[in-house]
Structures are given as structure tokens and as C-alpha cells.
Symmetry: none
Subunit: 248 residues, 2 copies
């Protein structure tokens, strides 16, 4: 049982089965399992449930005739909206990140409902009358609506954002976390200088300045130990080729 098990995503009057499925998918991605649908078009809900790949989450979704019943067990009920002129809004409006901070505190102690309106009209003032307050997704005002699945994804991302998740193990999915030792970096510098000397890149009178430039440039690369070994191999091969070509 995690805090997220206290979160209920409530879809109000959703018309498109694809959007119900998309909302369910976003929930699954972010580890939120309790889906409730209020007064959906019946056919839409049936179709979403029977869709190939519908998650168990969708099969367990609960259907309600009204918002009051759907949020009856919740201590906090929050509506969502997008940017745009909505002068009729009667509720306190919070930025998404601020609202989610309050939601996360409540999730520690009991159920919280997060409401999403229909694709076309969003949540009506009547719908919102069940909410304590409203969160606004920071979309452009000129673009007045948002895809339902995307709205759910963005809100749930904000909820899980900043959680500690174990970094996946990857072959080299690494920060440069084993910095090369100075000794190796200097060896690399010397190899590069020698290759460049053999190539005629180093002008005799500017040799010291060139060496200094190379030394700085190589240190700016902030190579890790592994890449340093690769570079050394590269330079050795070039040096060898330059030597043997000259002897042809």
C-alpha cells in the first residue's frame, strides 16, 4: 500500500472510449490504480473495457451515476482545468504544482479524488461544486482544450515527480562517474601532442603554446576513465600508422 493507492482518478461524462483507455494507460504508467467513471456514455465505457490491451485497472474501474457518489469516501476533491478565459469559475484556482503539493499531504492520510471533465466542455460549475478547489494545467490560453489522456498524464506525472525511483541499471547509462585520473589525462595529452608533432600540426616555434592549448582542451572534455582508454587506443593506432606509413 502506497500513498498513490489513496488517489482516485474520476472521469466525468467522458464520451470517447479511446480517451477512457488513454487515461487508464497514463494511470498505469504512473502507478495510480483506482479509476472511477461518472455517467460516461455507456457504449464508450463498454468499448474501452473490451479494448485489446485494456489493463486490469480498466476492468476494475467503478461506474457511478453522479459525482457525489463517486467521491463519497474522499477527504479532498480537486477539479482540473486548463488555461483560458473562464470568468465564471467560482473556486480557488491553484497552479498544478502547488495543488499537487497539497494533494500529496492529504494522500498520506486518506482518499483524494482528482476530477477530469469531458473532452469538450471540461467540468461544469455544477461538477465543480463537489470540489474544494481547482488546479490549472499551464497550457497556452489560446489553445482552450486539452486531450484527456494527456491531461491525466500531466497531472499524475506531477504527483509522482520527484519521487525517489531506483535508477535502472544500464551498461553505460552513467554520469561520468569514474573521472579519469590526472596521470591518464596527461598521458593522453602527451600522446596527442606526439601524433600532432608527427603530423606537422605543431609548429616548432609555437610548440609550448600548442601543448598548453591541447592540455586545456583535453581537460575541458572531462573524460571519464573508460573514454580515456578509448582515446589512448585511438592515438596509439594513429601513431603506429604514421610511423609505418613513413617507412613504406
Amino acid at each position: 500500500m502506497t500513498d498513490l493507492d489513496n488517489l482516485r482518478v474520476v472521469l466525468v461524462a467522458t464520451r470517447n472510449p479511446l480517451n477512457i483507455g488513454a487515461a487508464a494507460r497514463a494511470m498505469s504508467n504512473f502507478g495510480v490504480r483506482r479509476l472511477r467513471v461518472v455517467n460516461p456514455y455507456d457504449a464508450a465505457f463498454r468499448e474501452a473495457r473490451s479494448a485489446v490491451g485494456a489493463s486490469g485497472l480498466l476492468a476494475k474501474a467503478e461506474q457511478y451515476d453522479g459525482i457525489a457518489e463517486a467521491v463519497a469516501d474522499c477527504k479532498l476533491v480537486v477539479g482540473t482545468t486548463v488555461a483560458g478565459p473562464r470568468r465564471d469559475l467560482q473556486h480557488p484556482l491553484h497552479r498544478l504544482e502547488d495543488g499537487v503539493r497539497a494533494i500529496k499531504r492529504q494522500l498520506k492520510t486518506g482518499p483524494v479524488a482528482l476530477l477530469f471533465g469531458s473532452e469538450r466542455y471540461g467540468l461544469s460549475n455544477q461538477d465543480l461544486s463537489h470540489c474544494q478547489w481547482v488546479m490549472r494545467i499551464p497550457t497556452r490560453e489560446e489553445h482552450g482544450s486539452m486531450n484527456l489522456g494527456q491531461a491525466v498524464a500531466v497531472c499524475l506525472y506531477e504527483v509522482v515527480r520527484g519521487r525517489k525511483t531506483a535508477p535502472p541499471k544500464t551498461a553505460r547509462g552513467r554520469e561520468k562517474k569514474t573521472p579519469a585520473k590526472s596521470r591518464e589525462i596527461e598521458r593522453l595529452t602527451q600522446h596527442l601532442f606526439q601524433v600532432l608533432d608527427a603530423s606537422g600540426y605543431v609548429k616548432p616555434r609555437a610548440a609550448a603554446a600548442t601543448e598548453e592549448n591541447l592540455r586545456r582542451m583535453i581537460r575541458r572534455m572531462q573524460l571519464d576513465a573508460e573514454d580515456t582508454v578509448m582515446w589512448l587506443g585511438i592515438l596509439r593506432q594513429i601513431a603506429w600508422k604514421l610511423r609505418t606509413s613513413g617507412n613504406d
Copy 2:
């Protein structure tokens, strides 16, 4: 002109026209206008463009045959992935919020590309070899894929999140002044590959893998424009020497 005009969303090998449309819609919601598609199924791209309600953004989307061309003008190229076992990942992996912080700094000075892979397979290691690093959307590991439109929405939300309230970043430490453009970095990669080929470093049967390794290594160096010019000069000189030595 805002910083967001420097952001290019690049969809790689997208198969489903609905997903191209959904990505475009998320972009419009968050005020990002430059869409590039690489090697989409032609029919999918045509269908997405002709869909009712397709935004002007979609009409202006640019189509490319390869990632190199699609990101040629970009100073920073970032791949995206979701959680889940991906032990073959060869790149530094950042949390979405940390990665976006770095992206926002770069957006002030020039174009940045954000890559999204196909619905089914995400970005391949070959696709990622064009990237400096990768950002991970913090989904549950058990749910290994994410809807493309939702992934774009979540990433772009993170980019606009907190706008207007974010304190201006002050320069700190040694920032690399002018990051090199991808076109230059790719040119450098090709020069290095040619020099190594001429030196016998590249084994014919492993040529593609070697090229991929070099591409990744060079991107890890995060060269600035000036150092890139210096490296190009170095490689040209070595290449010249290798050619002329052979003719002695």
C-alpha cells in the same frame, strides 16, 4: 520569439497518424511549435496532416530521412525513454526534471532537439547515438511503454512548468560558452572515423559498431564550438599526413 521557439520536437519512425496528431496537440497546448518527423510511415504523416483540426503546426512540420539531418542545426540533442529494464543503454540517463533544467539553459542560446521514438520500440541505440544524453520519464518499471502523445505532453509540461516564477539562472562555474551544433559534431565524427579507418583502427566487420561508439563518445565530450573547430583542424592535419606519408 521565446525560448520555446528554439525547441524542436523530433518524432522518429512514428507509425500511427493519431499519435503524430496527439504529439502536435500537446505541443500546441504548451506553446512549442517546431515539429520534425524522421522517417514516418508516409501514409501516417499524410493522414495526420489532413486530419480535421490538424493545427498549423502540423502543416508546417518538416520531414527528414534521417536523424542526423533532422538535428543538424541543434546544439543539444536529447533522447527520451521510459522506465524499465534497458540494460543496453549506452548513454548518461537523467531524471526528467534534471534534464529539462539543462535543456532550458540551452534554449536561451540556440536550437535544442528532443527525440521521441516509435510507439513500439522507442529509440534504438543507433537513434540514440545522435544524442548527448537521455531523459527518463518516471513511469513504473512494470509498465514498459508509454503513449507517444502523453510522453510528449509530460516532457513539454516539465519544460513550461514553473515559468514566470522561476528565478533567472546565474552563470556558474565554467559554462561551455557556445555549444557546437550537431552538424559540426557529426562532421567531426565522420572525420575521426575516416582517420581511424585509414589507420587500420576500424575492423571492416565492426565498422558500424565502431562508428556508433565514436559518435557516442564524441557526444559525451559536449564540445563547444571553439573546441570542435580545433578538433577538426587536428583531424584534417592527421588525415593529410596519413595520405601523404603513404605516397612517400
